[in-house]
């Protein structure tokens, strides 16, 4: 399914996501967004190291006409995704976060 051709009228959602930083982590996330019918309008990524594990904090603005809850549940299924929050509130900054 393609997203609507007029992005300005397409519903827009903000999603924040925390996932393990490993090979192809971002590609995996973006692939799910695309195949579930959304397009990425904006994306910001930061890394953080806590307890010897490197995490990615991703702030996504996505557009799509399908129910965004479906996208959220599909992202939550990814093995390396620790948290998905659907709102305008970003995840709390983590100690030791690096640009």
């Amino acid at each position: 399914m393609s997203t609507e051709r007029h992005p300005q009228t397409t519903p827009t959602y903000k999603i924040t996501c925390r996932m393990i930083h490993e090979a192809a982590a971002l590609e995996r996330l973006c692939q799910v967004v695309r195949i579930r019918g959304f397009r990425i309008a904006k994306m910001a990524v930061e890394t953080s190291v806590q307890n010897a594990e490197e995490s990615l904090y991703i702030a996504l603005t996505v557009q799509g006409v399908r129910p965004v809850a479906m996208l959220q549940s599909q992202l939550e299924k990814l093995h390396t995704v620790a948290e998905v929050i659907l709102n305008t509130t970003a995840l709390a900054p983590a100690v030791g976060r690096t640009a």
Binding site: R28, P67, E76
Partner: protein
């Protein structure tokens, strides 16, 4: 111990006894380690797609982990269809591929492909092992991940230098799987008690949750009228009095009618696939829905559920069974109505008893079902024969019916049957194929011969791509396009070239003896069954149409003949 040897140690620890693979450059360290291993049986298929589909069939038939191995580049790309097949049907599988040495990744090295990037959409998870010391942990995690929750294929891509690197022996930690309690089912029980016409709708998730026995107990105890998806065939058992059969595009009239009339749909371990539901807004129009599944992402994906319950199916069935044993459902009128439909709206293709009459697909499968021993495993390919098997073979257990449900992979059946035979050495395993599907993995005849598997191969040959031809006839003004296969090879001669005996039948009076002959033969044998080119699968719902608009042979001429793109 190097990385390759560690992989075999992990197999030993997890009781992986059989793997399917094909060697090549970057996976050679693992094949070198296999030379000294006596505990893991490596099955050499003749194409990597055959390896993946054999591992799939092994897993489906045994409820164990399927494992396939290939080298980098073309070895990995050849696996992809088989892995995608496992992904779509949630089959637990571990995929191991060699990769070019770490220092060469990204240099367009010989037989390099970006396996991780290429396979993201067809795996439950995947790994590129970047450091040798990560390998033990990744192996443990991958095997656990493939088999828990909603199962699926997990792919580990391992650079050659990692396979050769020394790895300290790491004692494996025993995996403890906790028993989860059933969620609160009070609301579900109340909805079921309030319903006048509740219907049980089960799918492949029953087997995935290893809940076949507890499901059957619940189904019998509740005596709910029941329908099944393609992958749920066998869930209620062939003696169930309440089973109305498969629903959907080629489902029974009884099943689709019951879905149409019910006021409560209890969906368990099913994902409301479009082949089952038809046009969604015409599906179960009067029903509220309770959806029970292991995977929360299936809830409200295609149809809003009044109640969505995620949890362990065995625990859930335990609670439901107890509830309805203590106080049975008062739905006798609805049961009677469904029984009437079951009597009149089942699959009803007539047998032609005329000895010289051509063999028809439904009659042949019906006869096969009568003659084959109990517990026979049937591995289908994809097409008309697949639907005739689904309609007319009486399965008593879902793991006896191996079919490519989600991906619809032609060429699935033969390697899947090989895998099933390795998982069940003493069981009769039959591959029912079409002539088109058979040719897609026919190289695996060599695998059957090599291991002297007593597989029975049945080719239902209508000299064309029958399901495509049927839809072209019905929905594309009979404009046949690229479906003709009348230049098929001589399948009997082809089998014999692989040292597999074979015979051909083409008349009704040859059916019984043909089936009995291949079943009695002590070894692999092929039965080439010639059937009419023009035969169709009935009934059919046109793609994108509503299930209440089923077309049968009598209505074919009056049917609206345009395919609908939903």
């Amino acid at each position: 111990m190097n990385g390759a040897q560690h992989i075999l140690e992990a197999f030993h620890h997890h009781n992986v006894q059989t793997v399917f693979g094909y060697p090549g450059g970057c996976i050679m360290p693992l094949y070198d380690a296999l030379v000294d291993d006596v505990l893991v049986e490596h099955v050499l298929c003749r194409h990597e797609q055959g390896c993946a589909l054999a591992a799939d069939g092994y897993a489906r038939a045994s409820a164990r982990l399927g494992v396939c191995i290939a080298t980098s580049g073309p070895g990995a790309t050849n696996l992809i269809t088989g892995v995608a097949n496992a992904h779509r049907d949630s089959v637990p599988m571990l995929v191991i591929t060699g990769q070019v040495p770490s220092s060469l990744i990204g240099t367009d090295a010989f037989q390099e492909t970006d396996v991780l990037g290429m396979t993201l959409g067809i795996v439950k998870h995947s790994y590129l092992v970047e450091r040798a010391e990560e390998l033990p942990g990744i192996l443990e995690e991958a095997m656990e991940l493939a088999q828990t929750g909603r199962p699926g294929p997990v792919w580990i891509d391992i650079p050659k230098d990692v396979l050769l690197a020394d790895i300290a022996a790491v004692p494996s930690q025993p995996v403890t799987r906790s028993q989860t309690a059933a969620p609160d089912l009070g609301s579900a029980i109340a909805l079921l008690r309030a319903a006048q016409k509740p219907l049980l709708y089960s799918g492949g998730g029953i087997s995935l949750a290893h809940a076949e026995d507890s499901f059957r107990e619940f189904a019998e105890c509740s005596a709910l009228p029941a329908v099944v998806t393609l992958k749920g065939i066998g869930n209620p058992g062939k003696h169930s009095a309440h089973n109305l059969g498969m629903l959907g595009m080629h489902g029974s009239r009884a099943a689709n009618r019951a879905v149409d009339e019910c006021d409560l749909l209890l969906v368990i371990g099913a994902r409301l696939d479009d082949r089952a539901t038809g046009k969604l807004n015409g599906f179960a129009p009067n029903a509220r829905t309770i959806h029970i599944d292991t995977d929360a992402a299936e809830f409200n994906k295609l149809r809003t559920a009044e109640l969505a319950i995620r949890g362990d199916l065995n625990a859930i069935f335990g609670v439901l069974t107890q509830a309805f044993r203590e106080t049975p459902l008062a739905i006798s009128d609805w049961r009677k109505e469904c029984q009437t439909w079951r009597t009149t709206g089942g699959f009803q293709a007539a047998d032609n008893e005329e000895p010289l009459a051509p063999i028809t697909g439904p009659a042949f499968i019906r006869r096969l079902s009568h003659i084959a021993p109990d517990n026979t495993i049937i591995a289908c390919d994809v097409g008309q024969h697949q639907m005739w098997v689904a309609q007319y073979y009486q399965f008593d257990h879902p793991r006896h019916h191996l079919t490519s449900g989600g991906l619809g992979t032609m060429g699935f059946g033969l390697p899947a049957a090989i895998g099933a035979q390795f998982a069940n050495r003493a069981t009769t395993v039959i591959n029912v194929a079409g002539d088109g599907s058979f040719m897609m993995n026919a190289q695996e005849l060599a695998t059957i011969r090599r291991y002297n598997l007593p597989l029975k191969l049945i080719i239902m040959d209508n000299q064309c791509l029958g399901m495509v031809r049927q839809q072209q006839e019905l929905f594309y003004n009979n404009r046949e396009s690229q479906i003709n296969l009348d230049d098929n090879p001589d399948f009997v001669a082809m089998a014999r070239a692989f040292d597999i005996p074979a015979l051909k039948i083409e008349r009704t009076d040859q059916v019984r003896r043909g089936i009995e002959t291949i079943l009695a033969y002590n070894g692999p044998m092929l039965l080439h069954v010639a059937i009419a080119r023009e035969e169709n699968v009935w009934p059919i719902v046109k793609p994108g149409g509503s299930n209440r608009e089923m077309i049968d042979e009598a209505r074919r001429a009056s049917a609206d003949t345009k395919e609908i793109v939903a």
